[in-house]
């Protein structure tokens, strides 16, 4: 197991390096530059070029970039907040995004599990059909549509919630109210995913022989489903829940924009439009890192929660 984890960590570092290279090239080769639409004197441009090595060939710039990163220097922002180190910029934004995303994840899992189990146990009844219908809607309609709809009906027409996120408010009711709509918009799709997955898993487990055996050996229907059905269906659920976090992160890029949340998403879009390259690359790296780590967690967690791998692999 230790050997396996080390192997995976090495692979993770290599992958990150590749992503870094690709991100650097793609971002740098984008048309447009920081100087566009700005009336800067030639001397200033030259000074900036010299400072950030923009006058060197791309390959040389690349080595500067790698060298800096090895010293944990992610560069400085030149457009969004000039002269602020990118890492400090991220430090203020990441917690806000993570907060919204983690709350959405933790809300969607129990709801999804409840709805999925209900649909599986009441399979092919009205309840199941209704849940499945909602699942299709929640999965196929993108989250930003829900976001705008919620914003319009609940916040603008209904006046129940603030229209945009209140970044200034301290932790409390006011903050919670302003977070409600973005979190809600972000939960729809994960709830639907968990529901659909669990329904399929549990329905299959409920048809299994071992569930029948659990009943014939003297367990009630309820005990059999709880002890054998649920437990067994949760196992494969683990490997969709962890990557779902990455999914929510992706969805929140747009949602943050809609609700004016000062998180990573808004900053990423801004940094691209004003050609603040080091910020874009840093955010890309952050997202890549999160997805790679979640994948690693999935793989390792399998070895821990599934006895067939845990015990079988030990030998």
């Amino acid at each position: 197991m230790t050997k396996y984890i080390i192997q995976r960590l090495i692979a993770l570092i290599i992958t990150l390096f590749l992503i870094m290279t690709i991100a650097f090239l793609v971002v740098r080769l984008m048309p447009g530059s920081f100087y566009d639409n700005q009336d800067l004197p030639e001397t200033v441009i030259q000074a900036i070029n010299a400072k950030y090595h923009f006058d060197k060939p791309l390959i040389v710039q690349y080595f500067y970039f790698i060298g800096n990163i090895l010293h944990w220097d992610w560069g400085t922002s030149i457009a969004i907040q000039p002269n602020v180190p990118v890492f400090d910029l991220l430090k203020t934004r990441v917690p806000i995004s993570l907060q919204i995303n983690l709350i959405s994840l933790f809300i969607s899992i129990p709801i999804g599990i409840a709805a999925g189990s209900l649909a599986a146990i009441k399979k092919n009844t009205l309840v199941d059909h209704f849940i499945s219908f909602m699942v299709v809607i929640f999965i196929s309609v993108p989250s930003f549509i829900f976001a705008t709809a919620l914003q319009y009906f609940l916040a603008y027409k209904g006046g129940l919630f603030p229209i945009i996120y209140d970044a200034a408010a301290a932790m409390g009711t006011q903050k919670a109210m302003s977070m409600f709509l973005p979190v809600m918009a972000l939960t729809f799709s994960p709830i639907a995913r968990v529901t659909r997955y669990l329904r399929a898993e549990l329905a299959e487990t409920m048809n299994s022989e071992f569930l029948l055996l659990a009943r014939t050996k003297g367990l009630t229907y309820r005990q059999a489903i709880m002890r054998h059905g649920m437990r067994n269906s949760f196992l494969p659920l683990a490997n969709i829940i962890i990557p779902m976090f990455t999914n929510i992160l992706g969805g929140s890029l747009v949602i943050e924009r809609i609700f004016s949340i000062p998180g990573m998403g808004g900053m990423m879009i801004d940094s691209i439009s004003v050609s603040d390259h080091s910020v874009t690359i840093a955010i890309l790296m952050f997202y890549s890192f999160i997805s790679l780590v979640t994948m690693l967690i999935v793989d390792i967690s399998y070895g821990i929660i599934d006895p067939r791998i845990r015990v079988g692999g030990r030998k």
């Binding site: 022989e209 050996k217 003297g218 229907y221 437990r231 067939r308 015990v311």
Partner: protein
């Protein structure tokens, strides 16, 4: 026959399944009884309704099944009138089931020990230590070596035969009166089959169990059964003691089944029953076996034969036994074999 010897009595049981294409008549009015301490074998090919019959005994039929008629008398109660919570009181505790496929019958991610003790703790209110002691005892009884070590292992660490032993241990956990074996050896190697059968027989004798043994393989029941019911297309076509079925079979279907069983002397091509069983969406008129029966008479296609009594314990449902029917002898291949078996003074295995 003394009535209080009868432990379980099935009368006119009929079960059908609602499917998209119509109602499938899986079991069509069958009756049999199980005496205390005996082994009753129900023999028939796939789809003859054996498994459906025993699933109705335990109340574990799937949702689309309807019990059309009949009653199942156990301890004076009609099991068919039982609610789910009534069944809870007899499942595992009075009537236990051994499954056909040990590979899918055990929960793959639960420790073996827990799977045995679970029912004891939950429904017999036994405490942890007692139930563990009992589980280890049971594992010993069913022939698992090193039960202490095995107790904490998972099903994937067991071979097929070992798993079936665990399934048997689970079935025995709450000391049932009736043990139903649903083709317990079908999924296993032939060498393991013999061992498992021996084990079941031994346990049966030691604990004075009554056993219902479901199989499609007459060879398997030869050494086990006291009485045999032969089922075809949802009906019992012949029943009698083990010797009567093996030495004096009267129904053409039983003849065919026996002829299709190889023995050590078999030199010629093995007999096979031509055709396929009838589609139970549309049960045939008359004798269901008539289409595949070379001895079929005109009446077989018109009217269902009643049971004809051959002896106090032996009945067969075929018009061939009617007093007006032409005298028909069993196939030569079978007659020869029976003669040989009688000479050797034992049933073949």
């Amino acid at each position: 026959m003394n009535d209080d010897k009868k432990l379980l009595e099935v009368k006119d049981l009929a079960v059908s399944f609602n499917t998209f294409s119509g109602s499938v008549k899986a079991v069509r009015s069958i009756s049999f009884d199980l005496n205390r301490g005996e082994t009753l074998a129900i023999v028939g090919e796939s789809g003859s309704g054996k498994s459906v019959t025993i699933k109705s005994l335990l109340g574990i039929l799937t949702g689309n099944a309807t019990i059309e008629s009949g009653e199942i008398r156990y301890n004076g109660d009609d099991l068919l009138k039982y609610s789910e919570s009534d069944f809870y009181k007899i499942r595992g505790k009075k009537i236990s089931l051994i499954f056909q496929d040990p590979f899918s019958a055990l929960n793959p991610i639960m420790k073996i020990g827990k799977q045995i003790t679970e029912a004891l703790i939950l429904s017999n209110n036994m405490n942890k230590e007692d139930s563990k002691k009992r589980a280890l005892e049971l594992m010993e009884i069913v022939g698992i070596s090193e039960p202490e070590l095995r107790y904490d292992q998972y099903p994937f660490q067991f071979s097929g035969g070992m798993r079936q032993r665990i399934v048997i241990a689970i079935a025995l956990a709450s000391d049932p009166e009736i043990l139903i074996c649903d083709e317990p050896t079908t999924a296993l190697d032939v060498t393991i089959q013999a061992k498992i059968l021996k084990q079941i027989k031994k346990i049966k004798n030691e604990r004075d169990l009554s056993v219902i043994f479901i199989t499609h393989d007459l060879g398997v029941v030869a050494n086990m059964a006291d009485r045999i019911c032969v089922m075809y297309a949802g009906k019992i076509v012949e029943y009698g003691t083990c010797d009567e079925i093996f030495y004096e079979p009267a129904h053409p279907y039983t003849w065919a089944l026996l002829s299709s069983m190889p023995d050590l002397e078999t030199r010629e091509k093995l007999f096979s029953i031509s055709g396929t069983p009838p589609n139970m969406l549309f049960p045939p008129k008359g004798d269901a076996f008539a289409q595949r029966n070379k001895y079929a008479m005109a009446i077989d296609f018109e009217e269902e034969p009643p049971f004809f009594k051959l002896s106090e314990t032996h009945y067969a449902a075929t018009w061939l036994l009617h007093e007006y029917a032409p005298k028909v002898e069993m196939p030569e291949i079978l007659a020869k074999r029976l003669a040989r078996m009688k000479e050797e003074g034992g049933t073949s295995e």
